[in-house]
């Protein structure tokens, strides 16, 4: 293949001969058209398939109610809200970082800069890492390392307060005294400075029973075995950050394209008028590439809304009655909901209408986002011609 770029002179002479309508030739002429048609047909079939079968199952109640009876009835409102907040947080994290990276690559990096080349390679690698590996990373890094670390610090502080409280003169175990667990429980329950109800409950299962003896040191030691998890478990924030890493390359590529479309003369003019490089970027380059940044964000949102693998073990939950209330809450997600209904539901056939309706909502959302991104970009490209 490598040497066959150009036909040899002898072959060229042959080419002038009348076209032979052999079988191979007629196939090779039609095949590309057929292939194009097949690809287009597949897209149309998928969209139509879901539109036709799913539309009847779509109703106002479906969109505005919480699921009932182990997801076999009711609506998907919590999943819509969950997906919305997930994507919102993801955008807040991915778009600024992606945009700044693109600014560095186009405006600051020299053509043969090693750093820029490494960054480009990293971005391409990031775009190629399987999405489930991002999920593993989210679990291993955000949850098990960062989250657990934050929890540990917080818990150590709490245990310190507890130690002080148990050493106070009013405490039944003050100064190495021995008291029963139930005495300690009563004392902790009466404390007003902090909420110790969780610890009181935990002491219920102390190895020697509630009537068993204990000391201040042992009580703390026992409670310290099972720190409470707040950040160190799957939650909205960690899922959003994991997704942000996944969608960052999408933003970078789009914004880079937009920045390159800003004519160099405009930059030169700005610099010639005495503006610094950053002033040029902020007042000339960025305003001229807003559309591109928007396109990148929309594409990232669309990609993020549809990805399920990265959030499987970083925050998604089987069923919830409402959307996430805080950054550490687990949440329902449209894509995961579809996966559950189709493969894990107790009644897969019975929930078929729900599955189709969920697919329509998810597909409709991503289609809408994608089409608007495509339209925005074509506007951008048209404007470039005018300039």
């Amino acid at each position: 293949m490598s040497n066959g770029n150009l036909p040899a002179p002898e072959a060229a002479a042959e080419l002038t001969a009348p076209i032979r309508h052999t079988f191979v030739e007629s196939i090779s002429r039609r095949l590309p058209i057929i292939c194009t048609v097949i690809i287009l047909a597949m897209v149309v079939i998928i969209v139509l398939n879901f539109l036709i079968t799913g539309a009847p199952a779509l109703s106002w109640e479906f969109l505005t109610e919480a699921p009932r009876k182990a997801n076999t009835e009711g609506g998907i409102l919590p999943a819509i809200i969950g997906t919305f907040f997930l994507v919102l947080l993801m955008t807040v994290a991915a778009v600024p970082v992606g945009t700044i990276t693109a600014i560095y690559l186009t405006e600051y990096a020299r053509q043969n800069s090693i750093l820029a080349r490494i960054i480009r390679f990293a971005v391409n690698t990031l775009a190629g890492v399987p999405s489930v590996v991002f999920g593993l990373f989210g679990l291993g890094f955000f949850i098990m390392t960062i989250g657990r670390g934050v929890d540990r610090v917080d818990w150590d502080r709490r245990m310190h307060v507890l130690r002080d409280a148990l050493a106070a003169p009013t405490s039944p175990v003050a100064g190495n005294r021995i008291a029963t667990i139930s005495d300690v429980q009563k004392y902790l329950f009466a404390l007003r400075n902090d909420d110790w109800s969780g610890e009181v409950k935990k002491l219920q299962s102390y190895p020697r029973g509630v009537s068993g003896p204990t000391t201040a040191e042992l009580t703390v030691k026992y409670l310290d075995r099972t720190p409470e998890l707040h950040w160190g478990k799957p939650g909205l924030l960690w899922a959003a950050l994991t997704l942000a890493l996944l969608t960052m390359p999408v933003v970078i590529v789009s914004v880079e394209e937009a920045l390159r479309n800003v004519p160099r003369e405009i930059r030169d003019a700005s610099i010639a008028l005495g503006a610094t490089r950053w002033e040029t970027i902020r007042k000339v380059v960025l305003p001229n590439s807003v559309t591109g940044i928007l396109t990148g964000s929309i594409l990232a949102v669309s990609r993020g809304a549809g990805e399920v693998a990265p959030i499987l073990f970083t925050g998604v939950i089987y069923s919830a009655q409402s959307g996430p209330g805080s950054l550490t809450d687990q949440f329902m997600h449209l894509g995961y909901h579809l996966y559950l209904l189709a493969t894990q539901s107790p009644d897969v056939d019975g929930t078929a209408p729900l599955q189709y309706a969920t697919t329509i909502v998810l597909l409709g959302l991503t289609l809408l986002l994608n089409i608007s991104a495509i339209l925005l970009r074509s506007r951008l490209q048209r404007r470039r011609i005018v300039l």
Partner: protein
């Protein structure tokens, strides 16, 4: 993804030196901003390093053979000073009573037989060569080369041969479908399609790229599986072929877009020369332009392989997820990514099974990294060389 080839063909970034006429304070601010931008731009590098480090770290007990520390807790830990551990005393008394009691050969024999029977049962389930493991026993790398993946059974087996085969089979099918379709479609739209058609095809393929993979997986699970089952009469509804078709849907946009880029970056003069010496447009496309774009097409196919290999939700929903080894394409199979996706939610943090799934993640990461390395350094260099030196 669509931009994989961009850096080589894009216009050089503007290198404009800032004028030094500005006030010192302004220059300082300028430096600070540049430093900040540089640091933020490094996030991508940091992300790659962290991904490798942390996925590797969770799998390290298997890779490095280190055993995680176990925290043994006994009841005596919770004794107050002066208290006597009655459980320990009872255990000691029992031990002494056993030592003092006359040995009962019949009972001992029965115990021994019982033990042997269980060992035999375990051996029968696990097979001759594989070690009998429990849920907690540490996994060694040598355990991986086995034809059974059954981490949840009573005697777990962590053989990854079926997973390797499953991934290879689905990837191969996806590629056999997607590569010809998308390369030829790209050829058609690049040189033959009317402008109007071209403007329709590109966005539609972008829309295909934008389909959530869970939707594609669901489509295969419901429609493709049923159609294939009825038409071809497969024994299993979900199998490697259905999964491969699903993966092909995910791979087509990648191969199409990059091939399209590659074809368009071939100098038009080549085609004009071919036409000038009498080639038909079709001959020019097949015999001149397509070979000239080969490095780019190889890159496209490689990245397609990477995507098919790592795709999770489609494989999870459409391949059947059976962990048996075999060469049949119409049997249910399971892939690396689908195994992680299906089992990670149910394992205890830090257990051997958990480490094993992270090891599969390490394999996936290294695979995709390797593919990117090849496309970045081998294919692109070859492409550039070809057009600078050759033509």
């Amino acid at each position: 993804m669509a931009d994989q080839l961009q850096p080589s063909s894009a216009s050089p970034p503007s290198v404009v030196e800032p004028p030094s006429l500005t006030a010192p304070a302004r220059r300082l601010g300028e430096r600070v901003i540049e430093l900040g931008i540089r640091i933020v731009a490094g996030v991508s590098i940091l992300a790659i390093l962290l991904i490798f480090a942390f996925v590797f770290r969770e799998a390290s007990p298997i890779l490095l053979g280190t055993t995680p520390k176990k925290s043994a807790t006994t009841t005596s830990e919770w004794l107050v000073p002066g208290e006597v551990d009655s459980a320990a005393i009872q255990a000691e008394q029992k031990k002494q009573a056993e030592a003092a009691a006359p040995r009962d050969p019949a009972k001992e024999e029965k115990n021994r037989q019982e033990k042997e029977k269980r060992a035999k049962e375990a051996r029968a389930i696990v097979g001759e060569e594989y070690p009998v493991l429990t849920k907690d026993s540490a996994v060694k790398l040598s355990y991986l080369w086995h034809t059974n993946w059954q981490p949840n059974s009573e005697y777990p087996r962590y053989g990854i041969i079926p997973i390797i085969l499953g991934s290879l089979k689905t990837t191969l099918i996806a590629l056999l479908i997607a590569a010809p379709l998308s390369i030829l479609a790209a050829l058609y739209t690049a040189y033959f399609a009317p402008r109007r058609l071209r403007e329709i095809v590109k966005p539609i393929i972008e829309i295909l790229a934008g389909f959530p993979s869970v939707v594609v997986g669901y489509f295969c699970l419901m429609s493709v599986a049923t159609v294939f089952h009825n038409l071809l009469g497969f024994d299993y509804r979900l199998n490697a072929i259905v999964g491969g078709v699903g993966l092909a849907l995910a791979v087509i946009p990648i191969i199409y877009t990059i091939t399209d880029d590659a074809l368009r970056s071939v100098p038009g003069a080549l085609r004009e020369a071919a036409l000038a010496i009498g080639a038909t447009p079709w001959q020019a496309a097949y015999q001149v332009m397509l070979p000239a774009a080969t490095p780019g097409i190889i890159a496209a196919v490689l990245l397609g392989i990477g995507r098919a290999f790592g795709e999770t939700m489609i494989a999870l929903m459409a391949t059947g997820n059976a962990g048996t080894a075999g060469w049949s394409f119409v049997e249910p199979v399971r892939t690396f990514a689908a195994t992680i996706g299906a089992e990670m939610g149910e394992v205890a943090n830090g257990s051997p099974h958990y480490q094993m799934l992270f090891l599969l993640g390490v394999i996936l990461f290294i695979f995709s990294f390797g593919i990117n390395l090849i496309t970045e350094f081998y294919v692109k260099r070859k492409l550039i060389k070809k057009f600078r030196g050759g033509a």
